[in-house]
């Protein structure tokens, strides 16, 4: 299949909705076709495949055997199926300005945006009606390499009302504007942002002695963890704090799990179900495996392992991505158990970063 044909096939599937049937044969056929395309057009990925003995993509007979690229490798190579001059956008992993950051190169944003509209619309907004979206993150023009900011930008543009707004600008956020707007809203809203931004909001509300009650039907979506930019709260503490401070039922607070290297994101369908769940729903055009770190074999249901995602919307890069996240399969999705800690030094050989820093 050509790239256009692949893009079109995935686009059609995404348009059928995030809650559509999983359709295993359809996924298998598209995944293998996409793998063949990426093997041919993504030179670094082809090298990796050849290293594991796959010099001919036809040797791979099921999607589970498609070699996954660890997220850290996105720091090393430009994993793209198109020449650099066709690059439209680069999303980068968060990190300091000095450390090397992972990059996802995109020549089109169509599938990325289609995927986010489908899942954000389904699991955060709960339907086709537009909603006012209040964003606790910088806008895309101020963070052009942030996939999260782009996601919120598209959500506001395509799914939000005209009153949707970003509350993080320049070097900080605007608590007066946000708290003022939250106190005055008279229709349901979606408050979305990074987990650490929510912590700052909770701290600010507490400092002001404020407790709000958002209109019925309002909801919150947090994502991205804390990244050392606020005090760290457990999920219970964060969601409990949001519920209490904003007058939201617990099932109206949704955690999203995503990463720069993937075009699709994962949400807890708490709003959809009407009760709290910690299980992330996997869209039909994505598969997630929980594998043993040593053997890459699937872990039994409920047992912890490393998450590997296969995202058909990643047509321009690589569809199979191995994370450093721990999770377990549960129900029809997966649960996040945390991130693997940094590799500990159990010997006395000098650490690579220490050596390279001195060179």
């Amino acid at each position: 299949m050509s790239r256009d044909e692949l893009d079109q096939a995935v686009q059609i599937w995404i348009r059928e909705g995030a809650e559509g049937p999983l359709d295993e044969p359809r996924f298998e056929a598209l995944a293998l076709a996409l793998f063949a395309y990426q093997h041919e057009h993504n030179a670094p990925y082809r090298r990796l495949c050849e290293t594991v003995g796959i010099d001919d993509p036809r040797r791979v007979e099921c999607w589970q055997d498609i070699p996954a690229v660890p997220t850290g490798a996105f720091k090393e190579a430009r994993l793209a199926c198109f020449p650099p001059d066709r690059r439209l956008r680069v999303f980068r992993t968060s990190g300091s300005t000095t450390e090397r950051r992972g990059e996802l190169h995109l020549d089109t944003l169509d599938l990325y945006e289609a995927s986010l509209r489908s899942t954000f619309g389904q699991y955060v907004l709960g339907g086709p009606s537009r909603m006012r979206i209040l964003v606790l993150a910088p806008p895309a023009e101020e963070a052009p390499d942030s996939s999260l900011s782009h996601m919120f930008h598209i959500a506001c543009r395509d799914l939000g009302t005209a009153a949707s707004r970003f509350y993080v600008r320049g070097h900080g956020w605007d608590p007066d504007a946000l708290i003022g707007d939250l106190a005055e809203v008279d229709e349901s809203v979606a408050l979305v942002g990074t987990a650490f931004a929510f912590v700052h909001l909770l701290d600010e509300l507490e400092a002001r002695g404020l407790r709000l009650t958002l209109p019925v039907g309002s909801r919150a979506m947090e994502t991205g963890g804390f990244k050392g930019r606020s005090r760290e709260l457990s999920r219970e503490e964060l969601h409990g704090g949001i519920a209490k401070a904003l007058g939201l039922p617990r099932h109206a607070i949704v955690n999203q799990y995503g990463m720069c290297e993937l075009a699709s994101q994962f949400y807890e369908p708490s709003l959809l179900l009407g009760h709290v769940t910690t299980v992330k729903r996997v869209p039909p055009w994505v598969r997630t495996r929980v594998v043993d770190a040593a053997t890459l074999q699937d872990r039994p249901r409920g047992e912890p392992g490393v998450l590997v995602h296969y995202d058909l919307a990643n047509t321009g890069s690589v569809l199979a991505v191995q994370t450093s996240d721990l999770g377990r399969r549960r129900d029809d999705g997966f649960e996040i158990l945390g991130r693997l800690p940094g590799a500990e030094q159990r010997g006395c050989s000098i650490a690579a970063d220490a050596l390279l820093a001195l060179r």
């Binding site: 030179a43 670094p44 990925y45 090298r47 990796l48 290293t51 594991v52 003995g53 690229v69 660890p70 997220t71 850290g72 490798a73 720091k75 090393e76 190579a77 994993l79 770190a293 040593a294 053997t295 890459l296 490393v306 191995q322 450093s324 721990l326 693997l340 800690p341 940094g342 590799a343 500990e344 030094q345 159990r346 010997g347 006395c348 050989s349 000098i350 650490a351 690579a352 220490a354 050596l355 390279l356 001195l358 060179r359």
Partner: protein, 391 residues
Amino acid sequence: MNTPSSLTDLREAAGRLDPDRVGSALASGLDLWRAADSPWLARLARAHPVYSAAVLERGVRMGVQAWSAQALRQLATDAARRGGPAPGLTAVWLAGSIPTASFHALLLPLLAGSAVYGRPSSHDPASARLFTASLRAVDPGVADALEVGRDDTLLDQADALVAYGSNETIESLRGRAPAGCLFVGYGHKLSAAAVGPAADLESAATAVALDAALFDGRGCLSPAYVFVAQDPQGRADRFAEHLADALGALTETLPRGALSATEQVALRERWAREALREGARVLSPVPRTDWAVLLAPAGTWPEPGLLRFVPVLPVRDLDELGTCCAQLHPHLSSLAHVGWEAGADELEKIVRRGGGARCCAPGRLQAPPLDWRQDEREPLPLLLRKPRTTA
């Protein structure tokens, strides 16, 4: 928790000993580890959290092989002739997970005549404890001068502090050492192997594989890089293939210890990063991570090897080997070399350019002599009485 009285006991026990008795006890204690079917090795295998039993047995046997009664006596005699009085109590801050490194670190101050308090690393609580127990089995009087525990307050009461660890740890401990306390710090290092144009590639690869497999490539004596003379062209490729074969064979006889999930993922990530790189070649038993050989493109510097992931770097000649070693300065510890048409002096000079002091044959990296100049220091720096020795 050590009370002042138990510290006094330690000092008094050391004061009652003469160097001959300490040397004899250490030699007999080490004999227990060298013995066929040593129960001490079996105990270590049961208690050690990092390595397989086979690696521990082979690595420890090889490590202590040359630490004979004669070598111990010689070192003690040299020290007595050249050094001053030993510190009353030496605290030894151990690091890493290599048993023989712990043995060496504990026996040196004992041999110098000091009482010793050893603080084991969190990654290896077993080796120091079992070494002490083996010494007690042969001479309780000598063992009374050695105690192992995790009482950090000892730092304030020791006359000397010998610290092993990362640079951060060394600096932190240096700052904590009380005024007047002699401080000796040994930071983390790495070693390398160099295969010259006259070397037989297959036997060199077999020996280097053993160096990498022992202690799973975690130690500062493990080959972090293997430099191979690339003349004629393709020689480094052939060496890499032999090394892959040898590492594969050792998977059966010297299996790697269990890795944490974090280590597994980091290793897989490392593997992928290298495989993606243009011009690089990675040989490994995918999907497993038991070992890997990276043939790096000429002129590139990959990250150092670890956990049996061994980078092979082609070099043109001895000059380029020297340049490469110099770039490792001051981190190079030891260089295993074979097949270079150069004198021993020339290779020692090359090692010194990297900050190291030890040359040996491939397959012998994990067996330093008792009196080796770790970090280019005298083997018993405690006796030199130079307060605040720099790391």
